[in-house]
Symmetry: C2
């Protein structure tokens, strides 16, 4: 969240940020922020604050987000397409370098500059430097596809399919179920 908030300030042309400004923006207390930043090895200057570029560099390093993070996208439907071209991934250094689908109608076409390949040609992603994958397939295909990804050496999966997927413990999964998040709201409103 720090990375996101500070990058936002940089886009707005800010070179320095105070812990107080960040506290307001992130609904945190400024002593907490100063404590966290000192753990990061970043020290502010009284009356000026923290250098935005230094903070971004340090946080990226800590999160292992330095350099480019190659990712594969599985599923070139409407959501997959939006994800393939999603500008927000840039902040974290993600680059979707390969796209796969099962549909003969889609295979061979391009999204941006990336050609959609048959899932049959998934192969060993790890050998090609890809350890992350975004799963944007229907729920019915999610488990089987996740297993293929694991076989292909993927170590982290962003699961956009509305279901659980079961993977070995060494593989980390983050699940986003868009409809379920919306589904929570009517109870409260």
């Amino acid at each position: 969240m720090y990375l996101r908030a500070i990058s936002f300030l940089r886009r707005q042309g800010q070179d320095y940020v105070s812990s107080r400004d960040l506290a307001d923006q992130l609904h945190l207390k400024s002593p907490q922020i100063r404590k966290d930043f000192s753990y990061f090895g970043a020290f502010g200057v009284k009356g000026i604050g923290y250098r935005v570029d230094t903070l971004i560099g340090r946080i990226r390093e800590i999160l292992k987000l330095s350099g480019t993070q190659k990712a594969a996208l599985i599923g070139a439907g409407r959501l997959g397409k939006a994800l393939a071209l999603y500008p927000g991934f840039g902040l974290y250094g993600f680059e979707i370098v390969e796209i796969f689908d099962v549909s003969p109608k889609k295979i061979g076409k391009k999204i941006g500059n990336t050609k959609i390949q048959s899932i049959k040609h998934l192969g060993n992603l790890e050998k090609r430097g890809i350890r992350l994958a975004i799963l944007a397939v229907p729920a019915e295909a999610a488990q089987e596809t996740a297993e293929r990804l694991v076989e292909g050496g993927v170590r982290g999966i962003l699961n956009m399919a509305p279901c659980y997927i079961t993977v070995p413990k060494r593989v980390r999964v983050q699940t986003i179920d868009i409809a379920m998040e919306l589904g929570i709201l009517p109870y409260y409103v």
Copy 2:
């Protein structure tokens, strides 16, 4: 999660489900599931299990998801378009009935059967039976747009913009930051 899992089984043609099958699928313990279902007023039959339709009806009722849930979509970019046509919302009874954008290039065009309107014509959404909105605008426009939605009587917002939004306490916000979820993975893999 129960609703999602049980609906999945129904799509696969199952009429009954046992607490044990659900436990396997949801990584829960079956006594917990039986306890939850008895709170819901749903009782299984030994050797047969729970009637899928009964469970779905009860859970929908509890979550206030009976009937149609009208929602507005703000932002008709790539992600907004994918959301407008996202089939997963059907499970919760959501229907995106109005779409808004600021871009003159988009206003007047259609996504599916819904015409994109100017955000200037947002007006009183509540009067038109819309209490929910999906915010799919850039971070820079999110706060201002959220305030317009609140003025328009919206009570629940699904925020897809990569930033916090500040709203009055009576308004509930669920935030999905797709890039941030992916951004967590490299640390672990």
